[in-house]
Symmetry: C2
């Protein structure tokens, strides 16, 4: 690096298909094209950009994967706002590939879930509370089916995220939700007390939300997650091993 000639910028010519993608992306992000609004047909884009259709198509594929562009039922292209679920699956995929351990997941979940629950205690709307109540009732009804309980558990926590009315927290939390999900079923199958304790925790959390009591909410979410961790250990797993493929 002492070389006086070592100060050139890395040379890189961007391929045309990327330029096409970036151009469309700018239009959408800047709001000139609103979500749901149709993008022109491929032929139209060919004319506008002055490149071949193959090139346009490759550019479109890039955006399609981001969810910035959607195909309507008619297969016509339209702008679409990328929503959390899509991103969450990719985030959790990245975490799995990175061989994140359960301990990291547990620590992060503890932080974000308690914070979300506290926020929810302050702001939960009657509608969300009703949804949570329905979820809990359903959970009690299918208590002897671990798979069903697991799914409802995940929904319960997503509903708390909704109740918090903080979308940043929701998005940050969603991948942990997805990663916790598969282990919950394992635990419920192997740990006898699992389901009743889960239902009791949900009950207490919901009560605390109703009373707008952040402290109680926090306490029970902590217990709920501690149960999850203990159940995980009881099932014979090691906290420091990487989480597996979902």
């Amino acid at each position: 690096m002492t070389d006086a000639a070592g100060k050139f910028q890395r040379i890189s010519s961007t391929p045309a298909y990327q330029l096409v993608a970036e151009a469309i992306e700018r239009q959408i992000l800047s709001g000139r094209i609103r979500p749901g609004q149709p993008i022109g047909t491929e032929a139209a884009l060919v004319k506008q950009f002055g490149v071949n259709r193959s090139t346009v198509r490759e550019g479109i594929r890039l955006l399609e994967q981001d969810g910035l562009i959607r195909r309507e039922s008619n297969r016509r292209l339209s702008a679409g706002s990328p929503h959390y679920e899509r991103l969450a699956t990719r985030m959790s995929r990245a975490l799995v590939l990175d061989q994140v351990t359960f301990r990291e997941l547990y620590e992060a979940a503890m932080v974000m879930h308690t914070a979300t629950a506290e926020a929810a205690a302050e702001r939960a709307s009657p509608e969300v509370l009703a949804e949570l109540e329905a979820n809990l009732a359903m959970t009690q009804r299918v208590a002897d089916d671990p798979a069903a309980v697991t799914e409802l558990d995940a929904e319960f926590h997503t509903l708390i995220g909704k109740a918090s009315q903080n979308r940043v927290l929701q998005l940050a939390r969603e991948p942990t939700n997805l990663l916790i999900y598969p282990t919950t079923e394992l635990i419920l199958r192997n740990v006898k007390q699992g389901t009743p304790r889960l239902i009791r925790a949900h009950r207490m959390i919901l009560d605390a939300l109703r009373k707008h009591d952040p402290d109680a909410c926090r306490t029970w979410v902590r217990r709920h997650l501690n149960d999850w961790r203990k159940g995980f250990e009881l099932a014979g797993k090691n906290l420091d091993q990487p989480i597996e493929q979902i």
Copy 2:
């Protein structure tokens, strides 16, 4: 929906380029192709999948955007594990499109940054501490250049994430980092005390990390973020307005 015949699954033939992408994706996610390992040439993929090169290329574009496939300098394709930065930009983009407010961002940042800092206080390695020290020294040196200070501020917080040794928290936090970034410069330009207060906060946080004192760490991160919010209001902005395009 009372129609007895309404129980069929939605028919949907997946385009070939998606099938190609999924096939390659499975290979990578299952670990049969390790990150860094080269994918075959386009011609080879054409032979393997029995489709046209255009189709293969469209499939490749899908994965390229995910970071599952990278182009080496030679332009040859190789598997690559998607890393956080790429995801973080997309997450923050989604939040912007969703017109998330500053209040949501602030609340979420407060939760995640304090938690990360606490974890970092417990686990910060000498190497990261040295990096933080270097960052701080550089910040003092360029104190009269808001743009440079802003960039170093973002790096400082990313380094704390690294020090926490919790990759789940890191990923969850990164988008808020990206969104805070552009407003920081605005604040530093408009609020005279901004830079000295920022440097002082970084100094105190770093000291607390060195002493492995989570409480002090938490306190100073809180103050730092409070400064950010106040500066934001002093700059004449409203906390309940949606964050803007980055």
